[in-house]
Symmetry: C2
Subunit: 324 residues, 2 copies
């Protein structure tokens, strides 16, 4: 199997050589800007690894893998508008650097460009790949909408939270891995297990993201610790704490999130103290392990040699135990 | 040939029976709302007529025709945000009725739903249809971006204006007609002529739209006359007037668009007086005729019986001579 870094390099090269229309420049420059911002390129790498695992041709998978990365970046451009985020990967977001109208429209054209990249799939597989991509894309939109609904919801249960991240994050992981399998010509059963592997790994990945925002090292994760707490974001930790806390502790949690006169640092440290008292971090880690194990069970069922699964296993482990 | 109203009814029925996901309701309700707002359904009707003209099966074309209508409505949802429009077809726009975040995301999911409808095309034609759709969609985004750029441009030439409306309006007319031809299995040459027919008819349609905004009957067109003048929109009339006017007349035109102390009614009536003195309406009508004739030349070249072209000819004539 080729290494992760081999495929990351391949994806970076493809992004560099992506031929975009030149006119109007103000529509396509934000596309290039966004694609050049970097990131881990996890999703397209998973497509390539899945494709290789089933003996697929690298050339047949590279453009569809890029379609996934283009789609992912489209969601970031529009999410940043909706979330009023000014910074992405240390650089101004598209709507900050240009304006909101341009960010809406450049995002739209990125979605079209994703389908254009996808259309490089051979005719015998185009229907299946298109259907998978459409399903994944709808789920991602649904997940983002649920995330926004949760912002204004007093009570969110762990089940609805998991359902939200399964769509917002899990669906595209699942789509990336199943797409590689389809393009390589795997059996329907194997493709479905790759879907399950991605879905569960995506959920575990997102729970780890939630843990890191509160318990990571700010120097390592590249952003300030406690941002989610400060902005009252519904994370696994916040939802679990609200579900677990009782009496005076619950009252304090509510007051911390609603009382605007509490200074930011104090809000964060007092909330973390409650999390610690309720063992929220441990519970989140248990949930992460649960979904990681489910992902591994899915991968175990796939009918290829164990040795050929190792690189994807490493990807999942790295993603879930990452410190940033 | 089936009548225009037959196909309009068919499209309306299909829209009514469109099965959309239920959850999250706040993501999919705006989709239904927008699709139910009505409109002339010109584009999908053109797809159906083009398909029938080449002897295609109605059942094979209906979902792709709906994809075109879904795409068109997606552009309206996002354009309304960008143009800060509060009313569409006499009803509140999506971002007014819900909010901007929902309008962005519901628009996004409409674009995905358009591709989902499109994927009903048979495997042997899916590549060609997808490529056509992607090209048309990119052009529409480019046209909208150019339209926004023009808002802040002092000088716009007639050529760049025509290029803008060719993308913003012409490309989807062209795509609708060529799609019907491809699905019916026409020759590549005929499909290309249908594309040209749609492109030129779309340009003529947009010039007529510009004429109506200034010279229509407000009771007939369903909106206040002179809206484009009041908002300094770059229309065929405005661009032509700026190109034709000289000396004191040009100075007055500039002052009318830049001097905020001039009351709306006075701004509109004085601008129309200048248009009249410069014969702008006649020049716009000549341009409309020119593109209409080009459209007819394209249709003439298509290798089907003259009698079978009549319904599409009528559509083009009705669109271009419409009073609303």
């Amino acid at each position: 199997m080729n290494s992760i870094s081999f495929y990351t390099g391949l994806i970076e090269d493809e992004i560099k050589s992506l031929s975009l229309p030149q006119n109007p420049a103000s529509l396509y420059e934000p596309v290039k800007y966004m694609m050049d911002l970097g990131g881990k390129r996890i999703r397209p790498v998973m497509t390539m690894l899945s494709n290789e695992m089933f003996g697929g041709d690298m050339k047949a998978a590279i453009k569809p893998a890029l379609a996934i990365e283009m789609f992912h970046n489209f969601t970031l451009v529009h999410d940043d508008i909706m979330d009023h985020s000014a910074i992405r990967r240390g650089r101004p977001t598209v709507h900050e650097k240009w304006n909101e109208e341009t960010a809406i429209l450049s995002g739209d054209v990125m979605l079209v460009l994703a389908y254009e990249l996808l259309s490089n799939v051979s005719s015998d597989k185009l229907h299946a790949v298109l259907e998978l991509f459409n399903e994944s894309a709808k789920k991602v939109c649904e997940g983002q909408q649920l995330d926004m609904i949760f912002e204004n919801s007093e009570v969110v249960t762990i089940d609805t939270y998991i359902d939200m991240i399964a769509r917002k994050t899990g669906a595209l992981f699942a789509g990336s891995l199943k797409m590689g399998a389809i393009i390589a010509g795997s059996s329907a059963e194997d493709a479905e297990n790759m879907h399950g592997f991605g879905l569960n790994a995506g959920i575990a990945f997102q729970v780890q993201d939630d843990i890191l925002d509160t318990y990571g090292q700010s120097g390592t994760i590249g952003k300030t610790i406690g941002g989610d707490i400060a902005s009252n974001k519904k994370t696994y930790l916040a939802v679990k704490a609200a579900e677990t806390a009782k009496g005076a502790v619950l009252d304090e949690l509510k007051s911390l999130s609603s009382n605007l006169s509490i200074p930011r640092e104090s809000k964060i440290s007092r909330t973390i103290s409650i999390y610690n008292a309720l063992s929220i971090k441990q519970q989140a880690e248990e949930a992460r392990e649960k979904y990681f194990n489910l992902a591994m069970e899915n991968l175990d069922k796939v009918n290829v040699k164990e040795a050929d699964k190792q690189t994807l296993k490493n990807v999942a482990e790295t993603l879930i135990n990452r410190e940033k």
